[in-house]
């Protein structure tokens, strides 16, 4: 203890000296130090370097509770968008096999899927991306430091290596982009001990087997979707509603489709405990909040997808007085990504109220780099950001949900055009299309400006991007009417919608 104190004292002395000399000379090691090498941090640091700034980026991956680690690139590349979309593709191929039979392809009745083959291919791709990011930083002359960063003051960052070696960097500006990590529930015995999260699932070398996914966020549903798709017995346990924050009707269609697709759902239930049985399988006890009854079942894996928490604890923010949201633990940020402390900025998943999406982090990071380099004053526009949920039936949306539009404009202030369509792909394949739906939410008066657009169906991500751009340009319902359709596609159904909810007419699309 005494030794520690001396170290601390010495450290303080050293720090004072540093600050003293720095204030005297007015020079820093770097123009910009970015903590966090995820989508946002990398984009921001590369952009700043391109603009002539001297930049360092610190990245360090704290292994998950199960010991999973990965390389540079953050959540998106390693344990998010990229591996999940690839596994979603694998699941789609599983569905394609069933369709293919109807399309005249004759093959054996049962189809086996090998987790290890898929996981290895996915992991190799992720590693190639890790490497790509390293190379890019080098090319763009960004100093990459594999260190765990924390703040000492508004100009000083301390980096700690895995071996415990310390490096101190000074910078004119500091940007925090450390993102977030999946949470474990704290009150459930055995949860952390026996459960995994989305940090682990993509890096398993063995199939997770029969899996219980707890939670109903998009992460939960996407994971459950691809696990079902590759043939695993998968159950989702939902406490209240699925896809909170998304349009209610569309969220319902997404889960309806999943149920029809083979994913089991246990609604209105909360897990109580997880025990490992002598056989090695996990016994989960849960209670139905409606009936109050307790139930039990066994699984090979339990995946917690009960939310994500920001990586703020180890950053030393409290000492500096960086204001956090007490509830979420996220950093309170202004429209220019500034925190309550001058010269310290934060954006991406760690910023309070920001969408947890890679492209917004990338865009915000680039714009921030431009502002910090004094090249522009443009702020990030967080409106009309489109997003897609890669569930078995994909769901893409941009703008307001029907509930939010109603809340803002009143029921009489909006006009909802809707259509239930059958993708041509589904017809010969004899697939049920009752969940393929399009909803265009417009202002009721004038040219009927579009407030929100929702689409469930194949290729939703590819469909919704162009429409999100038209919303960005201020599209109205009239603009949709003026655009000729592309036949036969699913996307054309958007420009063909003409039945309003108010009319009560049947929104099912018939014929061309």
């Amino acid at each position: 203890m005494a030794a520690l104190c001396t170290v601390r004292r010495r450290w303080r002395k050293l720090k004072c000296l540093q600050i003293f000399t720095r204030n005297l000379t007015g020079s820093y090691d770097y123009d910009l130090v970015v903590i966090g090498g995820g989508s946002g941090g990398l984009a921001c640091s590369k952009e700043a370097a391109q603009l002539g700034q001297k930049v360092a980026v610190l990245d360090h991956v704290e292994p998950s509770a199960k010991g999973t680690k990965w390389g540079l690139g953050g959540t998106c590349v390693n344990v998010g968008c990229i591996p999940k979309k690839l596994m979603h593709q694998a699941a789609l191929l599983g569905t394609a096999v069933k369709d293919a039979k109807k399309y005249g392809w004759q093959m054996p009745e049962t189809l086996r899927h090998d987790w290890a083959t898929m996981a290895e291919a996915v992991q190799n791709h992720v590693r190639s991306l890790n490497w790509g990011h390293r190379v890019q930083l080098q090319d763009k002359k960004v100093k990459y430091l594999n260190l765990k960063g924390s703040l000492l003051d508004e100009h000083t960052v301390r980096g700690l290596s895995k071996a415990g070696k310390e490096t101190v960097l000074t910078a004119k500006n500091i940007v925090i982009a450390t993102g977030g990590r999946p949470k474990y529930p704290t009150q459930i015995p055995g949860a952390a001990e026996h459960g995994i999260t989305s940090d682990d699932i993509f890096w398993l070398n063995k199939s997770p087997g029969k899996t219980l996914v707890v939670g109903a966020s998009y992460v939960a549903l996407e994971c459950a979707g691809f696990l079902t798709g590759i043939g695993l017995d998968t159950t989702v346990m939902v406490r209240s509603v699925a896809l909170r924050g998304f349009d209610r009707q569309m969220a319902g269609l997404v889960t309806d489709y999943m149920e029809a697709y083979g994913t089991r759902f246990v609604w209105r239930s909360v897990p109580k405990r997880v025990d490992r049985l002598p056989s090695g399988t996990l016994q989960v006890t849960w209670s139905d909040t409606g009936t109050g009854r307790e139930h039990k079942d066994t699984y090979d894996s339990v995946l917690w997808a009960v939310g994500r928490a920001p990586e703020t604890k180890a950053l030393g923010l409290d000492k500096l007085g960086v204001q956090l949201n007490q509830e979420t633990g996220k950093i309170v940020v202004g429209p220019d990504e500034s925190t309550s402390v001058p010269n310290v900025y934060a954006f991406g998943d760690i910023g309070e109220g920001r969408p947890e999406l890679t492209p917004t982090a990338i865009r915000a990071g680039k714009l921030l780099a431009h502002r910090l380099a004094g090249q522009s004053t443009d702020l990030m526009n967080y409106d009309n950001v489109a997003t897609t949920v890669f569930t078995p039936l994909e769901y893409g949306c941009v703008g307001l949900s029907e509930e939010e539009a109603e809340r803002r404009r009143g029921k009489d202030g909006i006009e909802v055009f809707h259509a239930f369509y059958k993708p041509l792909e589904f017809t010969v394949a004899e697939r049920d299309a009752s969940q393929c739906c399009i909803k265009v939410i417009c202002e009721r008066g004038g040219d009927q400006k579009i407030l929100g657009l929702h689409f469930t169906g194949p290729n939703a991500g590819e469909v919704i991007q162009g429409f999100s751009m038209s919303l960005q340009c201020g599209a109205t319902y009239r603009h949709l009417l003026q655009t000729v359709g592309i036949h036969p596609t699913c996307a054309e159904e958007v420009v063909k919608t003409h039945i309003t909810k108010r009319s009560g007419l049947d929104p099912t699309v018939t014929g061309c």
Binding site: C76, I82, K85, L86, A90, L93, G94, A100, K102, G104, W105, Q106, M107, P108, L111, R112, H113, D114, M118, A121, H125, I230, L357, T358, I362, N384, V385, G396, L424, T427, V428, N459, G461, E462, V463, I464, Q465, G466, F467, S468, M469, S470, Q472, C473, H479, Q482, T483, V484, G485, I486, H487, P488, T489, C490, A491, V494, V495, T510, G511, C512
Partner: protein, 519 residues
């Protein structure tokens, strides 16, 4: 021609003498004069002028010749607006699109896409044993689906109280435009010609044995997968047919007159598509034409003459043997023969398409045309939109209701698919000047192929003009491009600029996000 013109003048003067109310306002006028003594007078007069036949002539408000996409859309909209409507169809309801076009074509394309997936299965962890493709199963399913659509169209017409008349329509020589079907005379103040088109064929005089081949119509009748196919043509139909056949396992050759396919598309797309066809194992015969075709007991023997573009007079003659399917995809022609449009005095272009103005008016008042028969933008949604716009103009009094033919998006279901809207770079340079055109391009491997051994790139191009960089053209080929285009087409129709693309936040991970992150 002179005779025709005189006849037309005569018709017009006759009409005015008979004091028939002007065609464009007839419908609204009719409503006003319903059960007034004048109406009876009018009918008596027209009967008097046409003594023999008038008694049997059935009158409608709107008479549509052709039950394809354009005709049906126009008829249904007119009926919704209160017009007493009839549709004349000689074949199956639904026209080219439903029976021998978009719909069965895309079903076949989907089947071919499954073949591509099968290649990728092992890369994604699925154990795939030997699979076999049954063309017969597919055709039965496809035909069943098409018949279901035919029935849906029929019941849609019935529900809308539209009379469906089966048979061939022919304009009579009556002074008032009248159509005869199976001996029955029909007339209306508004007659819409929506007879569409059909594949062009080579005559046996031009190419001996040409008639041994089929067209895209015949493709949909094939009962088995041809082992060996030869497709002639470089347009989108040739590209689609060749792609489907090759991907489903037919050894396929494509014979084109020049060096690339899709020559009226942006050069970037044309070059890439030509390359992709070859990557997909299609045997491409450039600078070539079919010289003759003969039949042997092992199939067709197709003789091809290939020119050396360097040496003008150097020709090489080759033969492809044991061909099971020779498919001509050398263009389409309007369906006007038998209609007797000559006697109606309708102006046509040199290829026989009916000439219409921006409101779909032909040169004869009271007669209109939409869709492929006009030869402009041969696309189902174009015909549908034009038919509906016309119905609103004629029966709802919306004088300005017309279709804007600019920036119409279109997709080619090649492998991988092509999406395009607006001007090609060449067209933009021509109309705006080279110095005012800025091009953005990108090429990448879609993430789907990140872990597959089969790879095909996605290419994208934006054609921008002026200081504000207005996007006037968007062209792409790659996985998913078919579903990507529609939303961008809305934005381009709205006059989107490159800055609007830049201001749109991407959706990750998709291919379409590359359009909004292009530099």
């Amino acid at each position: 021609m002179g005779v025709l013109k005189i006849r037309r003048l005569l018709c017009v003067s006759l009409r005015s003498k008979l004091a028939v109310i002007k065609a464009s306002t007839w419908f609204t006028a009719r409503k006003l004069i319903v059960s007034t003594p004048r109406r009876h007078e009018l009918i008596r007069r027209s009967m008097a002028s046409n003594r023999a036949s008038a008694a049997e002539t059935t009158r409608f408000d709107f008479l549509v010749i052709g039950g394809g996409s354009g005709g049906l859309a126009g008829a249904r909209r007119a009926a919704e607006l209160g017009a007493n409507t009839a549709v004349i169809e000689s074949h199956k309801l639904g026209g080219t699109c439903v029976n021998v076009g978009c719909v069965p074509k895309k079903v076949m394309w989907n089947a071919a896409v499954h073949a591509e997936y099968l290649h990728d299965h092992s890369d994604y962890g699925f154990a795939t044993e030997k699979v076999h493709f049954s063309w017969e199963t597919l055709k039965a399913k496809r035909d069943a689906y098409v018949s279901r659509l035919n029935q849906i169209y029929r019941s849609n017409l019935d529900k809308a109280k539209i009379e469906t008349i089966q048979g061939y329509a022919r304009f009579t020589d009556d002074p008032e435009p009248t159509v005869e079907v199976n001996g029955r005379k029909l007339t209306a103040p508004h007659i819409l010609i929506a007879t569409g088109g059909q594949p062009s064929v080579q005559s046996d005089e031009e190419v001996p044995g040409a008639s041994l081949g089929i067209t895209s119509d015949g493709f949909f009748e094939l009962e088995t997968l041809p082992k060996r196919s030869v497709i002639v043509g470089a347009g989108y139909i040739a590209v689609e047919m060749a792609g489907i056949l090759a991907t489903l396992g037919s050894k396929t050759s494509l014979v084109i007159r020049q060096t690339g396919v899709l020559r009226n598309f942006d050069a970037f797309i044309s070059a890439n598509c030509t390359k992709e066809l070859q990557n997909n194992g299609i045997d491409l015969w450039k600078n070539s034409q079919v010289k003759s075709v003969s039949k042997t007991d092992k199939g067709l023997e197709v003789t091809i003459v290939t020119k050396d573009p360097e040496k003008k007079n150097d020709e090489k003659i080759s033969t492809i043997e044991e061909v099971e399917c020779l498919l001509w995809a050398i263009g389409r022609q309007p369906n006007t023969s038998g209609l007797n449009i000559g006697s109606m005095g309708l102006d046509t272009d040199e290829r026989g398409h009916i000439i219409v103005d921006e409101f779909q008016n032909t040169s004869r008042p009271g007669i209109y045309a939409v869709g492929d028969v006009c030869g402009k933008a041969l696309l189902t949604p174009v015909a549908i939109a034009a038919g509906r716009k016309l119905a609103h103009r004629l029966f709802e009094g919306k004088k300005d209701s017309k279709l804007d033919y600019s920036s119409i998006p279109t997709v080619v279901f090649s492998h991988p698919p092509i999406g395009t809207v607006g001007l090609t770079e060449e067209e933009a340079v021509k109309s705006h000047g080279k110095e005012n055109v800025k091009i953005y391009k990108t090429s990448f491997t879609p993430m789907y192929h990140a872990i597959t051994s089969r790879r095909s790139p996605c290419i994208m191009k934006l054609v921008c003009v002026g200081k504000e960089e207005k996007v006037v053209g968007l062209h792409m080929q790659g996985l998913g491009c078919d579903e990507m285009l529609q939303g961008f087409a809305v934005a381009i129709k709205m006059g989107a600029t490159k800055a609007d693309f830049d201001n749109t936040v991407a959706i990750h991970p998709t291919s379409s996000e590359e359009f909004v992150t292009m530099r």
